[in-house]
């Protein structure tokens, strides 16, 4: 854990006790077995709003607390430990960052207070195919009557079923693959021509496919600059990636703690299995890799808090997403392996962590994506 300020420690303690008492893994199981369409409990979201988490990044003038990214990270880490389902990352971090970075005065005034009070759930619609590749945006935004008409499809939109509006990456010029020609729009979920459909994923979260059939928007729907939205999009994504890094550290740490507990209690051959050196060494390696990955996750958040330039933020976010991703990948597999047969049962929680791990790894770019991006950033 980074050297936290007193305030950050308080937020962490609050998040830890709330998550373990009010939104633990058992609550996730209940939700999974229910027919809840949004894939999170409204009460959970309400509590988060009340605790002020939706305002962590937002200036006080708009009702937030402006505590910064590391603070957001300590909350996400605790939620990642319990697999607490909510739109906090998708809306409180990603959607909110889009408005903070790209919104004009009118947009900020209209949206930020509502994002903080939880009445607005704003989530990013970027991917169109099975692999994350923001340059490949093809969804067309055609200029018409001083406004725009959006046509095309988005997929794997986080919390897409609960969203009240979307930040949509669309193409105003150029062709798929060009960085130039991408524009971001804020699109209310109730717009005529917009339809969404839940995607049933193994991690049981609220992903949706969203289709745009000639959705008509005014010019005031544009977020940031026309045709130059790619940089803004990347900055928003990098904040999301850094947040995911924190959540993934939480998920890895919990998986490790469960495994360590089992190593100390499960007996075979007349002794606890943790006394076998092969497993002791594996535990040592897993623990070390989490420690190293944690430094990357916290480093990315601290870079954001320090106001690092876009390139540095991009490098650190890719480092975090890739390194924490590697660590979580391995940890989630070993969680099952070291638990033996019990790890394979639905009744035990290990499977939830494994399934969630893969979804987290893939969101906003998998390990290979960020390794490639990191190498490109370093010029080779």
């Amino acid at each position: 854990m980074a050297a936290l300020t007193e305030e950050q420690s308080m937020v962490r303690d609050q998040a830890k006790s709330w998550a373990t008492e009010q939104a633990p893994i058992g609550a996730f199981r209940k939700m999974r077995d229910s027919d809840n369409a949004e894939r999170f409990e409204p009460q959970t979201w309400q509590s988060m709003v009340e605790m002020g988490w939706t305002g962590i990044l937002v200036p006080e003038a708009f009702g937030g607390s402006d505590l910064g990214f590391l603070t957001f990270g300590v909350v996400l880490e605790e939620l990642g430990r319990q697999l607490t389902a909510s739109p906090l990352l998708a809306s409180g971090l990603v959607g909110t960052s889009a408005i903070l970075l790209g919104g004009n005065d009118a947009q900020q005034q209209a949206l930020l207070p509502r994002l903080v009070d939880g009445s607005e759930i704003l989530t990013l619609a970027v991917d169109e195919g099975p692999r994350h590749e923001p340059r490949e945006v093809a969804l067309a935004a055609t200029a018409k009557d001083g406004g725009y008409v959006l046509s095309g499809d988005k997929t794997f939109v986080l919390e897409g079923m609960a969203a009240t509006s979307f930040v949509v990456a669309a193409r105003t010029s150029g062709t798929a693959g060009d960085a130039k020609g991408i524009t971001l729009f804020v699109v209310p979920a109730g717009s005529a021509g917009l339809a969404r459909k839940a995607i049933a994923t193994m991690d049981n979260r609220g992903y949706a496919s969203v289709s745009f059939d000639a959705v008509t928007l005014g010019a005031d729907a544009v977020l940031g600059r026309v045709d130059d939205g790619f940089e803004l999009l990347e900055q928003v994504l990098d904040r999301g990636r850094a947040g995911l890094g924190a959540e993934m550290i939480g998920t890895s740490s919990q998986a490790f703690d469960m495994t360590l507990e089992y190593l100390k209690t499960r007996e075979q051959f007349g002794r606890v299995i943790g006394s076998f050196q092969a497993l002791g060494h594996r535990a040592a390696e897993l623990f070390s890799s989490i420690e190293l990955a944690r430094s990357c996750a916290e480093g990315a958040l601290q870079t954001l808090d320090a106001g690092g330039d876009a390139d540095t933020v991009a490098q650190m976010s890719s480092l975090s997403k890739c390194r924490v991703g590697d660590c979580l990948h391995r940890m989630s597999n070993q969680l099952i392996q070291i638990h033996g047969g019990i790890g394979m049962t639905d009744e035990f929680d290990a499977g939830f962590y494994l399934k969630r791990a893969r979804a987290l790894e893939a969101t906003f770019g998998n390990r290979a994506y960020h390794r490639d991006r990191y190498a490109t950033q370093l010029g080779f």
Partner: protein
Amino acid sequence: MSQDQQLDGFRDSTRKWVAANLPEGLKGKVLGMEGETETSLGADLQTWRALLAGKGWGAPTWPTQFGGGGLSHPEAKVISQEIAKAGGFNPIPLLTGMGTTMVGPTVLEYGTDDQKERHLPGIASGEVRWCLGLSEPNAGSDLASLATKATDEGDAFVLNGSKIWTSGADISQWCGAVVRTDNNAKKRDGISFVMLPMAQEGVSTKPIKLISGSSPFCETFFDDARADKADLLGDLNDGWSVVKRLLQHERQSQTSGSREANTDKETLADTAKRYVGEDSEGRLADADLRVRLANHLMDAKAHSLTVGRITAEARGNVEVSAAASILKNSATDVTQTRSELLLELMGSQGLGWEGDKFSEDELEHVRQWLWGKAISIYGGSAEVQKNIISKNILGLPETTQKG
């Protein structure tokens, strides 16, 4: 003034001092096991050493009364950063063998006032080189099974037995050795830590040649060698606590990662491009190597971020920490992987041993690569570090000791 401002001020004055005093002839050079020698660096080296010693910068964090600089750890870091930025190096740690990193800190903790006064100033000034006689032919990772015997002969212990892998034994003036002082006690309870001068009749050394071609370490034979009682470090038969602490200091000193020495050398990525070439989009031509290089650079970054994080968490109080085993292993991985990548990307130019078909850098890399294999063996092998992590940090059962 805030701490940061004070440190900035210290950095400024250090930079100016280094600029004014670092001899031209030392710039871009390093005194190393495989690099330049004391003779090749000549009088410049002695001048620079004496100047640093005058400020107590051979051991910046030690008390001034024992020849140290009386400075904080952040200040010590500033000194090494500024010296490195100027293209120089601090020769004192290198000239004292195991003195500044291991013997000194342990004497500071366990030594009597008399021992501190006699031994520390010579280390801090870089004038006395120390070696460590720990390992024996039959006591490596299982150091506590050591057999070198010390008998009490009034005001001295008389030592008989042999040590192995003693780095720098043939060029050191003093040796810290673990010896058995009680044969009847359990193996960890009958060990003592003594210090003895190497220039005496009962001590002889025989260099061992390494795979990298050099002979930095020796077999050391004790044949009625004498260690004064006044040089017993810690209590009689409590040498195991002393050596455990000493090894923690060793681990701590090995956590920093690859010795990225001079600032003007090209990056690993640039070296890779120079040998391997690039595609039309500026990517390294060998896609597989590119992936592994990226992974390595990420690991190196993760390592240095972790060193920084652990220092920040300790809030400046950089005591020997439990995390040292994690850092020792990750530093080892980073250094060894870097060497392997360098060797691989140089292709057949990475296979040279000597001769003008190869550049000096290429030959140096080969030796460094070979030498680097030792890092996961000494100071507690990589496996032993994992034992330590699983037992001391994670609280898993002991897997090594019987009973």
